[in-house]
Every structure is written in structure tokens, then in C-alpha cells.
Amino acid sequence: MRIFLNDDAHDVDAATLAAALESLGFAGRKIATAVNGRFVAAAARPATRLADGDRIEVVAPMQGG
């Protein structure tokens, strides 16, 4: 299945958002996520199933004004 993470294409076997994040090296990271423009809370990632072509956004804390 091909998904897009922050616009980069990835071929993953993972069925859920949590599994995809794990396989792409985000385990234990302080991040927040959205799928296809909708916020997905950390607690909801294991139950969030991915489909081919899904667009995932992963963000982390950053400096801001």
C-alpha cells in the first residue's frame, strides 16, 4: 500500500496509522498527526485504518512567534 507522509511517498505493509508510524521510525516521538487533513489523536492511531493513497501529516514542536 502506498501512503504519503508529509508529501513523501512510502510503500508500507501497516494497516493502521500507529503501525505505519512505528515502521517509519516515529516510535516514542513527541508528534501529532492528521490523516487526509483531519486530526487524529494519539489514542486513536491504533484504531485508524489506512487506505491506499492516504495523506498523513506528522508534526512536532517547533520555534514560533
Binding site: L24, G25, R29, A32, V58, V59, A60, P61, G64, G65
Partner: protein, 262 residues
């Protein structure tokens, strides 16, 4: 002062554009700020060559400060983008506070006040405590309060422009119209006298970033802003004179010797 949280410092400081994390840390200390603004950006995983871990070290840095954080929705140009970003920020930073920015114009970074009111309403209903970055427009401010905002943050001038208070009359009107809503001048300040002027108008606080971060000596500038904010606040409390058109002698004339010839 802000949503039931009492703060002793009236200066809120941004964390972007400093020459180094060490300078940022010293500038925050010198400013006395108890609230710092933060943001969120995309981050890569370790499967992508370990790149993009900047967010993790910044997170540790922020935690080590022990200060309250005010996350922003900087760079969002639509209601949907801003609302989704606010949700991600609430989870990441574990705070209901959100500095809501919905940008309407790329050159001036002027708020899209229509989108701002809509996003503020959605977020306030969802339990967020919204700090809207707005213009000094009175009617927009009314709508924001009606939407649930209990703090207003009108701009002084466009973000990063260092122009100071572009519309003193508008800012004064806003203060007079909302005596009980905390008002913060956010954006456009360049030098400490701008901050002092905002405080003399009776504003509750100022929020700045670039003026400190991009000064030749950010730490010294942070200290200068802290002093100006304190001076401006003290001046407001001391009830300054209104300007008048004609001179008024400060030295009493009664009892002055008559020395002129007839």
C-alpha cells in the same frame, strides 16, 4: 489575567529566529517572560535517515524552561487548516491555549478576520482558550468576544515589520470599548518605546518575537523590552496627562518679583 491564569510578567515572547538555543534561553530569562509562543512543523521519522529530529530537541528545551507555552497556528490560511493545527497543538503541548492565526494576505500577513471569527467560534466551542491574532477593528473584536474569546490580540503593525503602533487611535478605542477583556498588542513592535507606548494606552501585555530575536544583542534587547513594559504599565497606572495645545508654565507665577521698568 488570561483565562483565569494570573501572570506577573506582561511580556510574552516568541521563540523563533534566535541565533542559537543558548541565546534564546538567555533572552527568555532576561525578558522575564512567563509565557513563550511555540509552533509546530513537519518532522521526519528515523526511517528517513534520521533527519528532522529538530522538534524532539526543541520539545526537551521547552520542557526544561518550565514556562507556560502558547502554541500558534502560524502560516495557516484557512479555517480548516487552523482548526486542525490547533487540535494538533493542544495534544502536543498539552494546553487549551491557542494563538489563533488565520492569515489573509501573504505580503502583510494581515489576519483574515472572517476566517478568524469562524475558527475562533469552532475552537471555543471545543474547549480551546483562544488568543486571536486580529486587527484593531472594533466590530471584528466584538465578534471574536461573541465567539467566545476572552483575550484579544490586535496587531501593532504587520508581523516582523518593526513599525510599532500603526493605529494608536484604533488601539485606544479598542481599550475603551473592552475595559474588562485582556488586550495584548501582538506583532509589529520594533523597539522598547513601542512596547512602552502600548502599555501606556492601558494594554495588558505585549507579545513580540523578531524585535528581540533579530536584534544585534537579543539578550540585552529582551532586558530593554522588559524594562519598557514595566515603565509603560507604571505610567498607565499613574494616569498620564492628556496632551494640550498651549504651554502651561510649570513654575508658579504668583509671587514672582516685578522687575521690568514702566
Amino acid at each position: 489575567m488570561f483565562y483565569g491564569v494570573d501572570l506577573s510578567s506582561r511580556l510574552l515572547l516568541g521563540t523563533a529566529r534566535y541565533p542559537s538555543p543558548a541565546v534564546l534561553e538567555r533572552a527568555i530569562k532576561a525578558s522575564g517572560a512567563e509565557v513563550v509562543t511555540v509552533s509546530l512543523r513537519r518532522e521526519g521519522g528515523s526511517a528517513q535517515g534520521g533527519a528532522g529530529r529538530a522538534g524532539q530537541s526543541f520539545w526537551q528545551f521547552i520542557q526544561s524552561l518550565g514556562l507556560r507555552v502558547l502554541p500558534n497556528t502560524a502560516g495557516c490560511h484557512s479555517v480548516k487548516e487552523a482548526v486542525t493545527t490547533a487540535h494538533m497543538a493542544r495534544e502536543l503541548f498539552d494546553t487549551p491555549w491557542i494563538k489563533l492565526e488565520v492569515i489573509g494576505d501573504a505580503d502583510t500577513l494581515q489576519p483574515d478576520v472572517f476566517g478568524l471569527v469562524e475558527a475562533a467560534r469552532i475552537l471555543a466551542q471545543d474547549g480551546f482558550e483562544v488568543f486571536p491574532y486580529t486587527t484593531e477593528d472594533l466590530v471584528v473584536a466584538d465578534r471574536l468576544v461573541e465567539a467566545g474569546c476572552r483575550v484579544l490580540m490586535p496587531w501593532g503593525a504587520p508581523i516582523g515589520s518593526a513599525r510599532g503602533l500603526n493605529n494608536v487611535y484604533g488601539l485606544k478605542s479598542l481599550r475603551a470599548h473592552f475595559p474588562d477583556i485582556p488586550l495584548v498588542v501582538d506583532a509589529g513592535l520594533g523597539v522598547p518605546s513601542h512596547a512602552a507606548a502600548a502599555m501606556e494606552l492601558g494594554y495588558d501585555a505585549v507579545l513580540l518575537n523578531t524585535a528581540v530575536a533579530e536584534a544585534g544583542d537579543p539578550v540585552e534587547m529582551a532586558r530593554a523590552f522588559a524594562l519598557a513594559v514595566e515603565a509603560g504599565r507604571a505610567a498607565h497606572r499613574a494616569q498620564p496627562l492628556e496632551p494640550r495645545d498651549m504651554a502651561q508654565p510649570s513654575t508658579p507665577v504668583i509671587g514672582k518679583a516685578v522687575l521690568g521698568g514702566i
